[in-house]
């Protein structure tokens, strides 16, 4: 564990060092790419003014709402689709048709439907997470070992009990992997969405900084996005360590 954090710090220090050397050696002007020191100063300034905190919370709030809504709808739908082949045959073409449409292409419609504010952004996050989560969940149900399903049938498990005791726990490790990947995508999308649709959040912060030609603030915003993404990923990885999920890693 200690080694992991050490490695993390080492690689980041190296990155910053190389960055500093390249920028100074080639005499890159600040408006093309700022020095690490300027970015650090910008971060400090933005922390002082509360700008960084406010915008991070705005982005996180939208991602949390949209993503939460996607999880509570997509996972149950995926669980059912994985079991009911008739329903799957009907809905799969629709899902596969809607899935490749980038959530950003929905921005005009989102603005039309929901106006300005949090709601269009939340809607976009929901869209960007919903379809992948349905697909992940369905496929994780479909890849449950037949033996487990036979055992469940043998002991007369059916209905809600079957879902609660067998289908959901058997699919859960794969679903959590899906959640982890999808949350990463949602975090990607929010920044893009905020550049166009709203007047707060980290995406907006970056665009606003660019408009006032503050490249140090732009990079500071990028650093914040990266760090929060890292933390989100770590939180999901806690889920993977739950005893009722861990088995899929520890088996064999």
């Amino acid at each position: 564990m200690a080694l992991r954090y050490f490695g993390f710090l080492l690689i980041f220090s190296l990155l910053v060092l190389v960055w500093h050397l390249v920028v100074t050696l080639f005499d890159v002007p600040e408006y093309v790419f700022p020095k690490p020191v300027s970015v650090a100063k910008a971060i400090e300034e933005m922390i002082q003014s509360g700008q960084l905190y406010r915008n991070s919370v705005a982005s996180l709030f939208r991602v949390t709402c949209g993503f939460y809504m996607a999880v509570v709808t997509a996972v149950p739908l995926g669980l059912v689709l994985g079991r009911k082949s008739h329903l799957r045959i009907f809905l799969n073409p629709l899902i596969q048709f809607l899935r490749p449409i980038s959530p950003l292409a929905w921005i005009p419609i989102a603005l039309m439907w929901f106006g300005i504010g949090d709601r269009p952004a939340i809607f976009l996050i929901f869209l960007s997470s919903f379809f992948p989560l349905v697909v992940f969940t369905t496929s994780s149900v479909l890849s449950i070992r037949t033996t487990y399903l036979r055992v469940a049938k043998n002991f007369g498990l059916n209905g809600l009990d079957l879902y609660r005791k067998v289908i959901l726990p058997a699919a859960l490790p794969d679903i959590i992997t899906g959640i982890r990947i999808t949350l990463g995508t949602a975090w990607l999308v929010i920044v893009a969405a905020e550049m166009i649709a709203v007047k707060s959040g980290l995406g907006y912060l970056i665009i606003d900084a660019r408009n006032s030609l503050r490249m140090d603030k732009v990079v500071a915003g990028m650093v914040a996005i990266g760090l929060i993404g890292l933390v989100l990923d770590h939180i999901i990885r806690f889920l993977e360590r739950m005893p009722s999920v861990e088995w899929s890693r520890l088996r064999r």
């Binding site: 055992v151 049938k153 058997a170 005893p243 009722s244 088995w247 088996r251």
Partner: protein, 268 residues
């Protein structure tokens, strides 16, 4: 005819099974003819009286597991029928419990939760815990109730699975090569315990094995299947008391006979 059917616990009549093979696959099977290719069971018939411990042996891939899935109701036969207590089998039932060839314990549950699955849902919690502990102890897993399957050895996992099957108090216990993946000594221990289990519980056991000695030591009867498409190659009663010494005369001869019928020419 009707009377014979009601006397026996399990009646298997002219069981047939064909799997539809995909065309692409067929081309690679050079030796077999297209028709023969998919035939796994070809007119399997036998009847088993209640309380009998039957061991099935046969070459690998001859359709033992297929037969097992059909008799226990998980698959439909292509032809013929299976009667249990005179009724045609239409699906699995918790009165006929299977221990599958593959690991069947739910890895997301502890040993205790797994065994409790066998009790169903409509009983009170205290009673469940008490009964589960009793059965865990019976199979020698007392104190391991809170372990997850990945924290147990292969033998212990199988024991937990046997406990889960026994706790339902089944009329028929199906076991498909249950000890095939275990090491030699554990296998010998499990053999002994299976004899005890059969004496303690009043049930019919169908036990598939590729281990001829295991069959000789456990079975009241051995049914040998032929190579695919499989039929009953040999059906014999073993009326010997337990524990059995396989190096003594009648069993030794029988073993020799089985080896011979399987086309093995090894010195014993």
């Amino acid at each position: 005819m009707e009377q014979v059917e009601t006397l026996n616990k399990i009646e298997v009549c002219n069981l047939q099974k064909c799997y539809k093979e995909r065309r692409a696959k067929k081309r690679f099977h050079t030796q077999c003819e297209a028709q023969e290719d998919c035939r796994v069971l070809d007119g399997l018939s036998f009847s088993i009286p209640a309380g009998c411990f039957v061991c099935f042996i046969g070459p690998s891939g001859c359709g033992k597991s297929t037969m097992f899935r059909i008799i226990s109701g998980f698959e439909r036969p292509s032809g013929g029928k299976v009667l249990i207590d005179g009724n045609q089998v239409t699906g699995p039932s918790n009165k006929h419990v299977c221990v599958f060839q593959e690991d069947g314990l739910f890895p997301w549950f502890t040993a205790r939760q797994n065994v409790a699955i066998g009790l169903g849902t409509n009983s009170n919690e205290a009673h469940v815990q008490e009964t589960v502990d009793e059965y865990l102890e019976l199979v020698g897993l007392a104190g391991f109730g809170d372990h997850y399957p990945h924290e147990l050895s292969g033998g212990m996992r199988r024991r937990a699975e046997v406990a889960r099957a026994l706790i339902t108090n089944p009329e028929i216990l199906f076991m498909d090569e249950p000890f095939g993946a275990l090491d030699f000594v554990t296998r010998l221990q499990m053999r002994e315990e299976m004899v005890n289990v059969h004496q303690m519980f009043d049930m019919t056991i169908l036990f598939i094995t590729h281990d001829i000695d295991e069959a000789l030591q456990l079975g009241d009867r051995i049914i040998m299947l032929s190579d695919r498409p499989s039929t009953v190659a040999w059906d014999m009663e073993l009326d010997f008391p337990h524990p059995r010494d396989l190096s003594t005369s009648p069993l030794k001869e029988i073993r020799k006979e089985i080896y011979y019928k399987m086309g093995l020419h090894v010195a014993l």
